[in-house]
């Protein structure tokens, strides 16, 4: 059986889209127009104390952050293998539990390796 779809069926989606866009655009415009603006070179400089601003703000950040970000991506994604297991927890039974323990054990081995390598040391 074929169901017909009129454009009006998608109306809620468009309303949602309009609201989301509208909120962002309105707030951006309103904050810009309401707030007072007094720009001068003197005002942008560091006041009394602090070092003068230099160069671009988009400088490369410490490699430590990069490694931690990478590790986060890796360990974060492994969770997706737990969702199917959780959904079928009862039907998979003990065999599934042992397999999941094995999986977690391997992940923990990796985690221990990361710690021993000193990746998570902050100083």
């Amino acid at each position: 059986m074929e169901k017909m779809h009129l454009p009006s069926d998608f109306l809620p989606i468009f309303i949602q889209l309009g609201l989301a866009l509208g909120f962002i655009i309105t707030t951006m415009l309103v904050t810009h127009s309401i707030g007072p603006k007094r720009n001068s070179k003197l005002k942008d400089e560091a006041f009394e104390c602090g070092i003068p601003a230099e160069g671009d703000a988009r400088t490369p950040i410490s490699v430590k952050y990069f490694l931690i970000a990478i590790l986060f991506v890796l360990f974060d994604v492994e969770v997706i293998f737990m969702y199917p297991w959780a959904v079928n927890f009862k039907s998979l039974g003990w065999a599934g539990f042992v397999e999941m323990l094995l999986f977690m054990g391997l992940l923990l081995a990796g985690f221990y390796y990361v710690i021993r390598k000193g990746v998570l040391k902050w100083e």
């Binding site: 391997l106 081995a109 390796y113 021993r116």
Partner: protein
């Protein structure tokens, strides 16, 4: 199943061994692990097995393929002394660990029954090799090779995956035998159009991994830029595993569509043979020539694949064994010579035979085998492959292949002429005893297999 489990565990063990004080234990440990795995690989001998919920399938042939991969890995690892001397940047435990992990991927590619396993295997192998390619961290050439390989490899993976998805859409299954069954029930013009698009994209992805033309442009750059030892590693293992995977796909599930893919693959074969052999002639670097030679050998292997007769599997098997052995010894000599001369060019080999007759002999046997001169394994390999093509009746393909191997003789002999007939000031190169043993074994195997090919062929 056993080799996969063992290699994974051993890989982790090697990683943790790296924390111990004495780094000297790593190489013997890795070699021991590889040997254990090599033996464990054959426990299912004469049985057909299905493991992991029928996702992994194997028989004698796939065990021999895995054996070839493990054996070449053993030889290459045995040639890796010297990681330790690279200073603080060297991380031998990681590299040995990654090599072991990559073999898991290779074995999965060889004995997959489900396309998921093929994908995971390809990725384990490729990602490991991206790392190994870039392992010379301070060297810009190595960096560049790693990035190029990574970007193009990921691109090819994407195409391969899209192909798999389309095939799933057309047949409703990822299992090789199911796909074969579903395709078999319909004539070629009744198949879903998605199947043909999917098959083509899947083939493109896999052909990229084995560096067949026109998907070969990454090969010379990556082989040239990577540290030589890892070039040897990837040119042997990726090629063997890749062709085993292609054979399994084409023979296992798509044999009934041979009329459809034959023309495509035959064209790619001719392109690969010509691109590899003709471009190899113009190289001045021996290492880069070996890269093009690996493309041309992919061409010869493709001939057996394209013909797909009953004996294709054993031809592919024998050819990849012969190719792996000769390649390992060629790179083994290259490593020693380039350490001495700080150059990978042909001139570096000038006068090699005068003070290093052993190395020159090893090089000679390996080059003769790669060129396909009688009494070497390479000759028998080419003979089997050409016989397949003759049986299929594709004489034009055979003519191209024979012309290509005639070109091959020219560039393989160039280095021999440099080694034997040119004047050079190459001093005597000190060879570690273990290194020498590996070179002797590999060279002997090349000659023995050239005389008695049945030793391997009767296994499958």
């Amino acid at each position: 199943m056993l080799p996969i489990v063992l290699l994974s565990v051993f890989g982790i063990v090697v990683l943790f061994l790296g924390f111990s004080k004495s780094k000297n234990i790593l190489l013997p440990a890795t070699l021991l692990f590889l040997l254990v795995t090599l033996i464990a690989n054959f426990v299912d001998w004469n049985h057909q097995y299905l493991y992991f919920n029928d996702m992994l399938w194997g028989n004698n042939a796939s065990m021999v393929f895995s054996g070839i991969v493990l054996l070449s890995a053993f030889f290459v690892v045995a040639l890796t002394r010297g990681f330790e001397q690279e200073g603080e940047a060297a991380q031998p435990a990681e590299y040995y660990g990654i090599m072991l992990f990559s073999l898991v991927g290779a074995i999965m590619m060889i004995s997959y029954e489900n396309l998921i396993i093929l994908f995971v295997g390809v990725e384990i192998l490729s990602v490991s090799i991206y790392i190994l390619t870039g392992s010379d961290k301070r060297n810009l050439r190595s960096n560049e090779a790693a990035l190029k390989y990574f970007l193009m490899g990921a691109f090819a993976t994407g195409i391969m995956l899209f192909g798999m998805a389309l095939m799933y859409g057309a047949t409703g299954s990822f299992v090789i035998s199911d796909i074969s069954e579903i395709i078999g029930t319909r004539a070629w013009n009744e198949q879903s159009q998605l199947l043909y698009a999917g098959l083509l994209m899947l083939l493109v992805g896999l052909l990229f991994k084995v560096s067949a033309a026109p998907f070969h442009f990454w090969t010379p750059d990556v082989y040239d830029g990577a540290p030589t030892i890892f070039t040897a590693y990837m040119s042997t293992i990726v090629k063997t595993a890749g062709f085993a995977a292609l054979y399994r796909l084409l023979a296992g599930s798509l044999a009934s569509l041979q009329d459809y893919w034959f023309a495509t693959l035959a064209t790619i074969t001719v392109l690969t043979l010509l691109a590899g052999n003709v471009t190899a002639v113009y190289q001045t670097s021996f290492k880069r020539m070996l890269a093009y030679s690996s493309i041309s050998h992919a061409g010869y292997l493709l001939i057996a694949l394209t013909s797909l007769t009953a004996k294709s599997q054993s031809s592919i098997l024998f050819y990849s064994l012969a190719y792996s052995l000769s390649t390992v010894s060629a790179f083994g000599v290259l490593i020693l010579v380039s350490q001495q001369q700080a150059s990978n060019n042909y001139d570096a080999f000038n006068g090699l035979a005068k003070k290093n007759p052993f190395l020159a002999f090893v090089l000679a046997v390996s080059m003769l085998s790669l060129a396909g001169i009688p009494l070497t394994a390479g000759f028998m390999g080419k003979l089997f492959v050409f016989t397949d093509a003759a049986q299929k009746g594709t004489i034009w393909l055979l003519v191209v292949a024979i012309l290509a191997s005639a070109i091959g003789i020219y560039y393989y002999f160039r280095v021999l002429i440099a080694a034997y007939f040119k004047e050079g000031d190459l001093a005597t190169i000190r060879i570690a005893p273990f290194y020498k043993v590996v070179l002797i074994i590999v060279t002997t195997l090349t000659i023995v297999l050239g005389l008695f090919p049945d030793l391997v062929l009767q296994l499958v």
